[in-house]
């Protein structure tokens, strides 16, 4: 179990790291998709079937499309030359991240976690009962958030006047 999870973790992590490092934005976005797929498989292996499919549907089917669309709509024109790589900024960022990573890593590996047996799977029906019962208000609120986000996104992205629509 541990070995399988470790392999899957690598499958998920390598594209994620590569995505942050490559220069080409489209490649980056596609590598992110690969990382999300890997994460979905990881969820499957852990036993969260429903979450895995929901994750794949939302991220691979939804978020990735929006991201690719945004990349294509905002391609740098002649006005904006490629930003010069700022080493200072990179060093600062990497140092900050290294600090966070060392803190997280040490706290994970030096904590003696209780070794519990995996709890039994939750059936889909139980999940549905939870969502329609104790978490009903939260569910409705999420629906509200999604509606507001949809309308807000439309208003933000739509050009103010059709005449000054730009090249989008």
């Amino acid at each position: 179990m541990t070995l399988l999870l470790a392999v899957l973790a690598l499958v998920c992590l390598v594209p994620a790291v590569a995505a942050v490092l490559v220069r080409n934005l489209i490649h980056s976005a596609l590598l992110f998709v690969l990382a999300w797929l890997g994460l979905a498989v990881f969820y499957l292996a852990v036993g969260a079937e429903f979450i895995a499919f929901a994750h794949a549907l939302v991220y691979v089917g939804g978020v990735s499309m929006v991201v690719l669309f945004a990349v294509l709509l905002t391609r740098p024109g002649r006005v904006d030359p490629l930003p010069p790589p700022s080493t200072q900024r990179a060093i600062g960022g990497v140092a900050a991240v290294a600090l966070v990573a060392s803190m997280l890593g040490s706290s994970i590996f030096w904590t003696r976690l209780p070794s519990m047996e995996p709890i039994p799977m939750v059936s889909l029906r139980r999940l549905g009962e939870l969502l329609a019962g104790p978490y009903l208000v939260a569910l409705l609120l999420v629906g509200l958030i999604l509606t507001v986000a949809l309308i807000g996104g439309l208003l933000l992205a739509a050009p103010r006047r059709p005449s000054e629509g730009g090249d989008a």
Binding site: F50, V60, L72
Partner: protein
């Protein structure tokens, strides 16, 4: 009489159990540890074989039927009635030179057709093709199917972008816009089915459609008012999802040469073709499962015909419908396409969601109340349809025709 000789339960009939018996005969001599793996391999091989052949003969059927509709014979030179045409096509595709543009993104250009075919295939794993014929049994199989299918348009985007060709890039943009627009009604039209059947598993959904009202009217979802509306929305969205005419904007040959396929040749082109048909078959199979009762027979008397045969008949009917539509309708413009989705299909599916909920809540109405229930449901379909259709076609006057005078 044949009927009297038939066994008590149709599930026990020999033909019905034949695939399972065959599998057991083939895997029976293996050690227990290996058996599930070999059985899984067998089901994969079966699905690949059946749907590969289906693909081959769908291309032939499409060319033949399109030919007949356009008043020409279609391919008829290779073999009797042109029956060997698919194999001739395959040999031609295999022997053609594979050209990759120098400017293309080599890796993505290669990956796109492979990913597309793989993604089009994996959805078939959860379709119950017959009474005991489902490759993978899962609790959330409907969700799995759509999660697998959602990524196909990504492969089309990859193909279009990696070709470094402006027509291909335009096709990629169109493919994304089309997917974002039509994924929504596709999923929304499935939700009422899940609500009414009370399950996300394809086997349970098929089981929920068993039985007949008054011994004649099957309990298929497409034969209820809300289900018919959902079925119609699903099929329109499925047409768009599989990039078929009249929604074949990404590869609109009159505007974009061949869209994302422009820079593909030889076997890779054939792979794209294959993926289109496999995707179409997968979505049709899902439509059969969700709305047309899956493998259930339409009449109790006809249950002696094995379940997988019924599934095949329904699947073929839907696929022929796809071909018929392709021959009949002109292609939409991109703005008409998105408008149809957001202003017509999505609201219709949303209203239908409530309609399906009411249907599920009134499941115990019988007798005269059942008629009232049907009436309410029909009202919930017809009224929104009329209003939405009016708003969609607002501003268009009656069409006028002008003919050339002799």
């Amino acid at each position: 009489m044949i009927l009297a000789a038939a066994p008590a339960s149709p599930a026990d009939a020999w033909l019905e159990r034949a695939p399972v018996l065959l599998r057991d005969a083939l895997t029976g001599w293996l050690p227990d540890a290996l058996r599930p793996w070999v059985a899984a391999l067998l089901s994969i091989a079966t699905i690949l074989g059946v749907f590969g052949l289906l693909f081959a003969y769908m291309t032939l059927a499409e060319r033949k039927i399109l030919g007949r509709i356009q008043n020409r014979p279609g391919p008829n030179r290779t073999g009797p009635f042109g029956l060997l045409q698919p194999f001739a096509d395959a040999i031609k595709a295999l022997t053609k030179e594979d050209i990759v543009p120098r400017a293309a993104d080599q890796v993505l250009h290669f990956l796109a057709p492979v990913v597309l075919v793989a993604l089009s295939l994996i959805g078939l794993a959860v379709i119950p093709f017959g009474r005991n014929l489902v490759a993978v049994e899962m609790e959330a199989s409907v969700l799995y199917f759509f999660a697998a299918g959602a990524a196909t348009e990504l492969a089309i985007f990859m193909a279009g972008w990696a070709s470094r060709n402006k027509y291909s890039l335009l096709a990629a943009m169109r493919a994304l816009a089309q997917l974002i627009s039509y994924e929504v009604p596709l999923l929304l039209s499935v939700v009422p089915v899940i609500v009414v059947a009370g399950s996300l598993s394809t086997t349970d959904i098929v089981a929920a459609q068993g039985g007949w009202a008054a011994g004649l009217w099957p309990h298929w979802h497409a034969l209820t008012p809300w289900g018919f509306s959902a079925f119609a929305v699903f099929m329109v969205a499925a047409l768009a999802e599989s990039n078929r005419s009249p929604f074949d904007l990404p590869e609109a040959e009159s505007e974009l040469i061949a869209g994302h396929l422009t820079e593909y040749s030889g076997f890779k082109y054939a792979l794209f073709f294959m993926a289109e048909y496999l995707g179409m078959a997968a979505l049709s199979a899902m439509a059969v499962t969700l709305f047309l009762g899956g493998w259930q027979a339409p009449l109790a008397v006809l249950e002696f015909i094995p379940s997988y045969a019924w599934f095949g008949v329904k699947l073929l009917l839907l696929l022929l419908g796809f071909i018929w539509i392709r021959a009949t309708f002109p292609r939409l413009r991109i703005d008409q396409l998105t408008r149809l989705s957001w202003k017509f299909l999505v609201p219709l599916a949303l209203v239908n969601l409530i309609n399906g909920g009411v249907w599920a809540a009134t499941a115990d109405w019988t007798g005269a109340a059942a008629v009232v229930r049907w009436f309410i449901s029909a009202l919930g379909v017809v009224v929104p349809f009329i209003f939405l259709a009016r708003s969609l076609s607002a501003g268009y006057g009656p069409r006028t025709y002008r003919y050339a005078s002799p």
